[in-house]
């Protein structure tokens, strides 16, 4: 798990081009965060909604 540091950016589909932040090593919450399954089917709705 060391490679993931403490950021959820590592598994976000926007990671390579994301315009929101250059400091991604410590991001735990992001409302733009999205992640798709490998098989390319439906997204696993993956908006980080920390509001519940």
């Amino acid at each position: 798990m060391k490679e993931f540091v403490r950021s959820l950016c590592s598994t976000c589909i926007h990671q390579s081009y994301c315009a929101l932040s250059s400091n991604r090593s410590n991001i735990n919450l992001c409302n733009e965060y999205r992640q798709y399954m490998d098989d390319g089917k439906e997204p696993t709705i993956v908006v980080s909604d920390e509001m519940y």
Binding site: C30, N31, E32, D38
Partner: protein
């Protein structure tokens, strides 16, 4: 055994926990919080770490590690999300559980705070595997969650479907005549499985409401006021939609793909339609021009809504901000030093703990409907949300003025005072 959350040995990897503890200690010092109650709130009540086996699609068995941290339940059942992510660990769960305690307390809800999840990368598993993982995790937690004990909700990589699986598994462990009494064991469910109308827009609507209340308080008319939004997800879009309906003008948007601006105004609905047809991206939208990302926060506007992620307003851009209000739709978008600069410059900040609390209030309404066997109409949900948020906002505004505090500190003070009152009234057993 309790674990003190401020353990020095663990400091290097506890950024988030440090932050939450700093905010707590700051507010606790201001109200001179009873030393014994401070001791209680500094630690979590209960921490579960469960290991459970799940059979994968290829027939192999994999062992997963799941967490549930219950910080405090003085005000009511524990409440907080479950996330599926490689970074989930006990420290993150502790920090977020504590954060939930303050949030539910400030919102005036009968809830405590909890958080949890499973340490995994969901892209590596099929939907069927995720379903089995979720169900087995629910079974492992057993009666340590429950509709009147601890109520999970969606978070990173969990969604209404995940909640429906948890509900179904939890109900299956009960005797047949008890099953339907347990619909409120989770919130954020699909509408067909007991979810509430309006849950999708609750957070964004709450952000809009706090801005509206702030404007009323300052005797400012929102009509023709300009605003910019960072993040065009569920929170950013709905906040922009309701603000536009009030006559305000959306002049710039930034998301993961880039930034756009148009001083004449951008239609949130048109932009959402465009983004949906464009793989979620706002870039290339014909109704606005592209903008350099670094210029976004320096744009001329009246209201700035960071609704994407943390640490966006920093010492590097705080002095450039021209807005007179920052409404924190995201969690922790303004860092500590930036906040000092902004407050010195007379810029108001509606703190995240208040600004984005519409979501947890929406969850509370879902829980209430399930508990009482009711189904509310969307208008009813939004009306009740407005009433609840107005109460919270007024309390914070009053505390800000009477105690001469900034809104964030005032919000924390209110949240902690409510817990202090509860402990003083109830005493400590035995």
């Amino acid at each position: 055994m309790t674990t003190t959350l401020t353990s020095k040995r663990k400091q290097p990897k506890q950024g988030m926990l440090d932050n939450v503890m700093r905010q707590f200690n700051n507010a606790a010092d201001i109200i001179e919080l009873n030393a014994n109650i401070r001791k209680i709130l500094e630690v979590t009540n209960t921490e579960f770490v469960v290991h459970f086996p799940v059979r994968m699609d290829n027939g192999e068995v994999e062992i997963f590690k799941g967490y549930r941290v219950q910080h405090n339940n003085a005000l009511g059942p524990y409440k907080g999300g479950l996330r599926y992510h490689p970074t989930v660990d006990i420290d993150a769960a502790r920090a977020l559980a504590m954060w939930m305690t303050w949030k539910t307390s400030l919102a005036g809800l009968p809830y405590g705070g909890a958080k949890g999840g499973i340490q995994l990368d969901p892209t590596k598993y099929s939907q069927d595997e995720l379903q089995r993982i979720t169900r087995r995790f629910t079974y492992a937690l057993g009666d340590n969650i429950g509709p009147e004990l601890d109520i999970p909700a969606p978070d990173v990589n969990t969604n209404p479907q995940t909640m429906a699986w948890i509900l179904d598994t939890y109900m299956s462990t009960k005797s047949p005549n008890e099953r339907s009494k347990n619909l409120h064991v989770v919130t954020g469910k699909p509408i067909g499985a007991g979810g509430s109308e309006g849950r999708d827009r609750a957070t964004g609507y709450g952000v809009f409401l706090t801005i509206k209340f702030w404007a009323e308080h300052k005797r400012i008319d929102l009509k023709n006021k300009t605003f910019i939004v960072q993040g065009f997800g569920n929170v950013g879009y709905w906040a922009a939609h309701f603000l536009k309906n009030e006559g305000a003008i959306l002049t710039a948007v930034q998301d993961a793909y880039g930034s756009i601006h148009n001083d004449e105004g951008i239609s949130p609905e048109d932009l959402l339609d465009y983004a949906r047809a464009n793989k979620g991206s706002i870039s290339g939208y014909a109704g606005a021009s592209p903008l350099d990302n670094n210029e976004f926060f320096g744009l001329d506007c009246d209201i700035c809504i960071p609704a994407a992620l943390g640490n966006q307003i920093t010492v590097d851009n705080a002095h450039k901000i021209k807005a007179s209000l920052i409404a924190e739709g995201a969690n922790g978008p303004t860092d500590v030093q930036a906040e000092e600069i902004l407050l010195k410059r007379g810029i108001d900040i509606i703190p995240d703990i208040l600004c984005n609390s519409g979501g947890v209030i929406g969850s509370y309404f879902e829980w209430l409907q399930n508990r009482n066997g009711e189904i509310w109409h969307l208008d009813e949900v939004l009306e009740k949300l407005e009433r609840k948020m107005r109460e919270s906002f007024n309390k914070v505004a009053h505390k800000t003025e009477t105690k001469n505090l900034d809104m964030r500190t005032a919000a924390f003070v209110i949240a902690i005072e409510r817990l202090e009152d509860t402990y003083i009234q109830r005493g400590i057993f035995p």
